[in-house]
């Protein structure tokens, strides 16, 4: 049976040493670069015409924009409609649109590239997803303290808690806050890893059954059905996980802007 873990192996393509740090260009880096080039190329190319009546490519780019803009608006725009700020408040959170859009489309492209047979899935490595999650975490910290000063610490002190359980609650809130980058990164990584391993295992069953010959060959139709269904599911997961990652980014940034809940 082919090794289902083999597909995640990091290969060193161009050894590189940056001031004593190992900055080797790997196959993982290659696919991240490919994703960045694909996304940038697509967006630059599709917005060349900038016509009022969009071409097919342009309307695709516009749909992507609308999709992410709606997500940002839904997650970050709510909660202060009732403050009466109106549209002037838009700039407050739409400032983070470029970050959320970049994260979403980068992860989506990496996930989708991973669905092409023989391609490498960078998001199936914890190092990559943890890097992205930490980027969000640090951004939240910086934005939180820059916007609210020490008022950001209100995030850890829920209102209406009696003083004698407050230390306990604050400890729990801090742990809850610190657990964010972990669940944020592990979720994406675990989904991609598990999905690709399952696919590989079922594909392996087909080959094993065919190799066994005779009546076993007929049985191989079962894992084949399963692998086909799983492929469809994996496409769904690839999209959903990119969406969930971006949506959580919005939620965390929203906490940084409005720590008082």
């Amino acid at each position: 049976m082919p090794d289902p873990i083999h597909q995640f192996e990091i290969k060193r393509l161009i050894p590189l040493d940056l001031f004593g740090l190992d900055a080797t260009f790997t196959n993982s880096a290659l696919f991240m670069l490919l994703a960045a080039v694909l996304v940038s190329g697509f967006l630059i190319l599709s917005m060349q015409g900038r016509s009022l009546v969009p071409t097919r490519l342009q309307s695709l780019a516009e749909m992507l924009y609308e999709f992410v803009a709606n997500m940002v608006r839904d997650t970050m725009g709510h909660g202060h409609d009732d403050h009466g700020h109106g549209h002037g408040h838009d700039q407050g959170y739409m400032k983070f649109f470029p970050l959320v859009f970049t994260i979403f489309i980068f992860i989506l492209t990496l996930n989708m590239l991973g669905m092409i047979p023989g391609f490498f899935t960078s998001t199936s490595h914890l190092a990559v997803t943890a890097g992205l999650a930490l980027l969000v975490f640090v951004t939240v910290l910086i934005v939180g303290f820059a916007k609210n000063g020490f008022g950001f610490l209100k995030l850890f002190v829920p209102s209406g808690v009696p003083i004698y359980v407050l230390p306990l609650v604050v400890a729990i809130e801090i742990i809850s806050f610190l657990s964010r980058p972990i669940s944020h990164s592990v979720r994406l990584f675990a989904n991609m890893l598990a999905g690709h391993i399952t696919l590989k295992v079922f594909a392996g069953f087909i080959i094993m059954l065919l190799g066994a010959g005779g009546a076993y060959g007929i049985l191989s139709i079962l894992p084949l059905t399963m692998a086909t269904a799983l492929t469809a599911l994996e496409f769904l997961v690839a999209f959903l996980q990119a969406y969930v990652f971006a949506m959580l980014t919005c939620m965390y940034l929203n906490d940084a802007l409005h720590p008082g809940h």
Binding site: S179, R180, I182, S183, V186
Partner: protein
Amino acid sequence: MPKSTDGQDTGGGQLSPQERAQFERRVSELNAKLEKRRAERGAEAADDAGAAMRGRGMAYGMRMASELVGAVLVGAAIGYGLDWVLGTKPWLLLVFFVLGFAAGVLNVMRGYERLQADIKRETGGNIGHSVPDDDD
């Protein structure tokens, strides 16, 4: 030729009662076909929506699980670190393990509240209103 007296002057084209009956039968046949096609299409759309909902449900479940596990891990790590610094093995590990679990439950509860709010917002805008309700 006597003029049609049933009020439907179709510009000279006269319909005998048989022709009218045949015409009405064809209309009702077509209606039945259309109904069937509509029902099929509706079922397809419902299937698609069902699959999307299942996908969302799965993503949601995975999210809740990782929130819970993540918080327990962070709690345990903090306890272990403090134990290591203060030399109080294994007490703080035990305490923070429990605190981590509490934080995990808190995460799950918050996630659930958020889900409820999302569902309320989505259905509140679409069900019961034929026009999407833009409140801003």
